[in-house]
């Protein structure tokens, strides 16, 4: 593993609601993630993390712990209150991505990042064909050549084992597992160095889950993409991630090598997670 992180995040906070002087002072205790004074939700509070080139970092935590908000902030779907976000592929990490101009942020998002959402409705346009959905990422990155895009789209979908005779169908005709494959094809369309995956197997049948996870592992090996994968399911994290963070109430409560966390969980919440996995 190289020393310089591919992604380095310090003190990210994301709030839903207006905030107040009480909850904006970072050392004041909240009720879970909720400010007792103004009722704002601090979905992510002072989270720092590094992802190293080529690794898969796992983030695990119960529902509502802030995992989706974390990756959505990294993919720049939601605006953070504060945070320092460096990507090694963007200006060698010299600029805080949260602070650069909007066109620059868009460029980073379209060219350097990919995202697979838990809910395919967030990542795909259900009224457009599967092919067009994948092409959208190419268009967003500036491609204006139909022939090239169609070729690349077919290549990606084939790679993800989506039957090519279905390229012109809308994703709403597809099964959940197939929709996730389309999302993955779209997410990696521009060969981004960094990929975010949010609960990509939640709600799928176990056999389908296993095949989607295999696919993630395969593209990670073939393309060498650095990944941050989020799940409430420690079993998923265990299969993919070498290192893991545990989130609770918007904060990181524990982090380390996945094996270590499984063998010797420190935080009481992590212990419950691990025990429920083993039982």
């Amino acid at each position: 593993m190289e020393n310089k992180p591919a992604l380095s995040l310090s003190n990210l906070s994301v709030r839903y609601g207006r905030g107040c002087t009480f909850c904006e002072a970072s050392d004041n205790e909240l009720q879970g993630n909720r400010c007792p004074h103004c009722g704002s939700i601090w979905a992510v509070r002072n989270v720092s993390l590094q992802v190293y080139p080529g690794e898969i970092l796992g983030v695990v935590g119960e529902s509502g712990s802030g995992k989706s908000t974390l990756v959505q902030a990294l993919y720049m779907d939601v605006e953070p209150v504060s945070g320092d976000y460096r990507l090694n592929c963007y200006q060698d990490g010299a600029a805080n991505v949260f602070k650069v101009s909007l066109p620059q942020r868009k460029m980073v998002r379209h060219l350097m990042l990919g995202m697979v959402y838990q809910n395919p409705h967030m990542g795909l346009r259900m009224g457009f064909s599967v092919g067009a959905n994948v092409a959208e990422k190419l268009i967003a990155a500036g491609s204006r050549n139909v022939q090239e895009m169609t070729r690349r789209t077919a290549e990606l979908l084939a790679h993800m084992e989506v039957p090519l005779d279905r390229v012109k169908e809308p994703p709403k005709h597809f099964s959940g597992g197939m929709q996730q494959r389309v999302q993955i094809a779209k997410a990696v369309a521009n060969n981004p160095p960094m990929l975010f995956l949010d609960e990509i197997t939640t709600g799928l049948d176990l056999s389908v889950q296993a095949r989607v996870l295999d696919l993630v592992r395969r593209i990670q090996q073939e393309l060498g993409i650095t990944m941050l994968i989020v799940s409430h399911d420690l079993a998923v994290i265990r299969m993919l991630a070498s290192r893991t963070l545990v989130m609770l109430g918007g904060r990181v409560i524990e982090s380390g090598l996945t094996d270590q966390i499984l063998e010797d969980p420190q935080h009481p919440f992590t212990q419950i997670l691990v025990h429920s996995l083993l039982s």
């Binding site: 868009k106 067009a132 092409a135 959208e136 268009i139 050549n145 139909v146 022939q147």
Partner: protein, 279 residues
């Protein structure tokens, strides 16, 4: 003149409101400026957006022309003309070159427009992004952020499905490399007339309460892919059966013997040519 009404029907306050919106529209070419659309004694959908622009701009010395899909004599054109005449008394013409203010539905006249003329186009649906995004707040942000990938996606989908972009009228354009705009349902044939022209084009949508503008010498590009360039309707080898004009927008008609014939869509242009030919 209508008794008991202000010159040009609208009160001066209402006119000033429209003019302010027009100034803003001219300052930001292609940007849809909201305005407080008034009730008029003409049904919405009959050009009330265009009429309000006309009424706000028209002065006693203006010479006014109305055309409806190329015709000066359609019911719609006649009713707008008689309304404007009854509340202003200004001189009316069918001759494009004589007019200082022209209101049009779905056509830009064939005769080249000059810098001392204004063309007001009636707009049924101003928002090019509406088909991909129903929420106004979101489309506004998409315009601001140049988030036009979904728009391009629609065109891409056309090409992939049927080999070309099947948009006959209202073919979208991008203004000064920024705002994507609908030129109102003019034929594609008229799109190039918007580019670097010396005339001021004003667009009014009454129902949707939006005004936008293409000021003189503005860059206006019809959306197209590298390998699928924008093309106007192919009428190259056709001529008007009345005046013999070529390189104008022709309507397809059937003669009494069932033969296809072609005729200038712009009736006053055709008439003028016939008169000149006859001399």
């Amino acid at each position: 003149m209508l008794e008991g009404y202000n010159f040009a029907f609208l009160d001066e306050g209402a006119k000033r409101q429209v003019r302010r919106a027009l100034l803003k529209a001219v300052a930001i070419p292609g940007y849809q400026v909201p305005f407080g659309s008034r009730e008029l004694p003409i049904g919405r959908g009959w050009g009330t957006g265009g009429i309000q622009i006309t009424l706000s701009l028209i002065g006693k010395d203006d010479v006014f022309k109305v055309i409806d899909q190329g015709s000066d004599d359609s019911v719609n054109a006649v009713s707008i003309r008689s309304f404007v005449s009854s509340c202003t008394g200004v001189e009316q013409t069918t001759d494009t070159s004589q007019a200082t203010l022209i209101q049009s539905r779905h056509r830009i006249p064939e005769a080249p427009l000059r810098n001392d003329q204004i063309l007001v186009l009636q707009v049924p649906l101003p928002e090019p992004l509406r088909m991909v995004e129903p929420r106004e707040a979101v489309t506004k942000r998409m315009h601001a952020e140049l988030d036009y990938a979904p728009m391009w996606l629609g065109l891409y989908e056309h090409i992939v499905r049927v080999g070309e972009v099947k948009i006959g009228a209202d073919y979208p354009v991008q203004v000064e490399n920024h705002y994507i705009m609908l030129p109102s349902p003019i034929p594609r044939f008229d799109n190039p007339k918007l580019h670097m022209n010396e005339t001021l084009y004003l667009f009014g949508a009454g129902r949707e309460k939006k005004i936008y503008a293409i000021p003189p010498y503005t860059q206006v590009a019809s959306l197209a892919f590298e390998d699928h360039p924008f093309r106007i309707e192919d009428q190259a080898d056709r001529a008007c059966h009345l005046c013999g004009a070529q390189g104008v927008f022709l309507d397809e008609l059937f003669a009494e013997d069932g033969q296809k014939i072609y005729q200038c869509n712009d009736s006053s242009y055709c008439l003028k040519r016939m008169n000149e030919n006859g001399e």
